[in-house]
């Protein structure tokens, strides 16, 4: 695996240690997402946790791979994202921050 280029975000995310919280620390109101036309969450998330399912015309969201930057909560135009930090020591663990 070379750090030069050609790595996908998923491959990059494999280098991050995350202790997954059973309770999601981010919840999304999918009904509001259906109304959204701009969908900035799709571009702002550096872990690409927000994806759009074109077939179902619905948002696919995965809280488990979250890097906890919180950019999505700032950017959501619909206020559909309920964001908090993971509890009890869960979530991302940066070793080389």
């Amino acid at each position: 695996m070379s750090g030069k280029n050609n790595m996908t975000v998923d491959e990059k995310m494999a280098t991050v240690k995350i202790k997954i919280d059973k309770d999601p620390h981010i919840t999304v109101n999918y009904e509001l997402c259906k109304k959204c036309t701009t969908r900035p969450c799709l571009i702002i998330c550096t872990a690409e946790n927000y994806k759009w399912d074109e077939k179902k015309d619905d948002l696919i969201f995965n809280y488990e791979g979250c890097l906890e930057c919180g950019a999505c909560r700032l950017i959501c135009p619909e206020g559909a994202i309920d964001w908090s930090y993971p509890k009890q020591g869960c979530g991302v663990k940066f070793r080389f921050g």
């Binding site: 030069k4 991050v16 908090s84 020591g89 979530g91 940066f94």
Partner: protein
């Protein structure tokens, strides 16, 4: 009912500085940290200045976990086909080191341990979910379903501060005054790093990568610095800007990595960790929203950071120390009302912290400048001028206006100390190889100072 004198939320630089100062004053302090190890939730964007830390912990150099002592600084403007760079070496930093790189997981943990050793109680792996508020006064915190009470709560819990939001001091977060950063830590053997950056063991380099135009990514900036056996490479942009321009920051980072200059530096490296973090970028500070009944905000929670020159951690440490002074005064007077805690501003005013933060707000307006002639337009002007100044024939009459333009555009607004010297040095070097050295030197000098005088007035 568990009750402490003070609860510090967050064991980052601000929280640890505050808790350490309080513990030394003999004030009962509990620190709550959501990471299982302090620092494991943090991501550094650049180097660490330790002047303020030395003031707080004079013998800190004995066991501070550091990576490299930074002696080389590069500022470069990256274009598709060329790079303009200014490299400076600061050998003073070998004798009297003040600038280092460090991993936050080691640094923050070390700092929190200092506070714990001094007597503060450190609880990790506990997330503050809400405040306990009675009649508008903060009397405690809810953390992972437990309730803890205190006379005063210090919010040092970072950008997304729960204390700031729940106390109503800073309920809104503005994406315009917020930078998103994405970073990769790329492993390389130490000797390879030494060779590529012309360093010896233990010494390091930092680079500011100012993007002019790479692959149509016109705007954005990057950072690159060396750790002992890795290179940290990151990209930054305002959240509002990314939204407006529909740019994926991690794609921009890939573009940065493929630039010939950067790719040569990181060649054959292995990705060790992928990171993202958010930092406030000025514009958010309102002094009267830094204190309330039974509550104080420090560090990033109160937007008391100056990120433009990498002064994040020092300002956090300073604000933590000043919060501790305020609390000491409140304890003596047995009064934790906002009227008493307002003295925080006086203590902050005794330092240059607020001045620095206000200054960085102006910079933030300048750099994030969406819809204005801010970052994009000015960056273009700077790079244009910069490019031309290098290519122009110094014998031609165009030289002086260009140099002047460079001085005005770059020197006045954009890293004055770093960018002022190439003007003088450029003239010196050009003339050195000229047959009419003395004559031209005097003409250039006179003309330049004439121009300068005219425009400075």
């Amino acid at each position: 009912m568990d009750k402490a004198t003070c609860i510090v939320v967050g064991a980052g630089p601000a929280g640890s500085a505050c808790a350490l100062s309080l513990a030394r004053k003999g004030i009962e302090t509990v620190m709550l940290e959501r990471g299982r190890i302090p620092g494991e939730k943090n991501v550094s964007s650049f180097v660490l200045f330790i002047k303020e830390l030395k003031r707080l912990i004079p013998d800190c150099m004995d066991d501070l976990p550091l990576e490299r002592n930074i002696i080389r600084t590069d500022q470069m403007i990256l274009c598709d086909t060329d790079v303009k760079t200014i490299t400076s070496y600061n050998y003073q930093n070998i004798k009297d080191p003040i600038t280092f790189t460090a991993y936050r997981r080691k640094f923050d943990a070390w700092f929190a341990k200092k506070a714990a050793d001094a007597g503060a109680e450190l609880i990790t792996g506990m997330t503050v979910t809400d405040l306990i508020i009675d009649n508008g006064r903060v009397i405690g915190v809810k953390a992972d379903d437990e309730e803890l009470y205190a006379d005063v709560v210090v919010g040092a819990d970072g950008y997304h501060s729960k204390v700031a939001q729940a106390s109503g001091l800073n309920p809104e977060l503005n994406p315009e005054y917020c930078m998103l950063g994405v970073k990769e830590v790329l492993a390389l053997p130490p000797e390879v790093i030494n060779e590529r950056f012309q360093l010896s063991d233990g010494l390091g380099a930092e680079m500011g990568l100012w993007n002019y135009n790479i692959n149509n990514f016109k705007y954005g900036s990057g950072t690159l610095y060396t750790n002992t056996d890795s290179i940290s490479l990151g990209a930054f942009a305002s959240v509002a800007f990314l939204k407006e321009k529909n740019i994926k920051l991690h794609e921009y980072l890939e573009t940065l990595k493929q630039h010939p200059y950067v790719s040569a530096l990181i060649q054959d490296s292995t990705l060790r960790e992928y990171q993202a973090h958010i930092l406030s970028y000025g514009g958010r500070v309102e002094p009267d929203k830094l204190y309330g009944d039974g509550v104080l905000l420090c560090g990033e929670a109160g937007a008391l950071v100056e990120t433009f020159t990498g002064m994040g951690i020092p300002t956090c440490i300073t604000s933590g120390m000043m919060a501790a002074e305020t609390i000491e005064m409140a304890v003596k007077n047995k009064n934790f009302d906002s009227g008493m805690l307002k003295n925080y501003l006086k203590f902050l005013d005794s330092t240059s912290l607020l001045d620095i933060v206000y200054e960085s707000q102006k910079e933030a307006a300048y750099w994030t400048g969406i819809g204005k002639d801010g970052f994009p337009a000015d960056m273009k002007a700077v790079a244009d001028t910069y490019n031309k100044a290098w290519d122009v024939d110094y014998m031609s009459k165009d030289y002086y206006p260009l140099m002047l333009n460079l001085y005005l555009k770059v020197g006045k607004h954009f890293m004055p100390n770093i960018f002022r010297w190439p003007i003088n040095t450029g003239i010196k070097i050009s003339c050195l190889y000229s047959k009419v050295y003395e004559k031209i030197k005097s003409i250039i000098r006179n003309r330049f100072y004439e121009w300068k005088k005219q425009y400075d007035s």
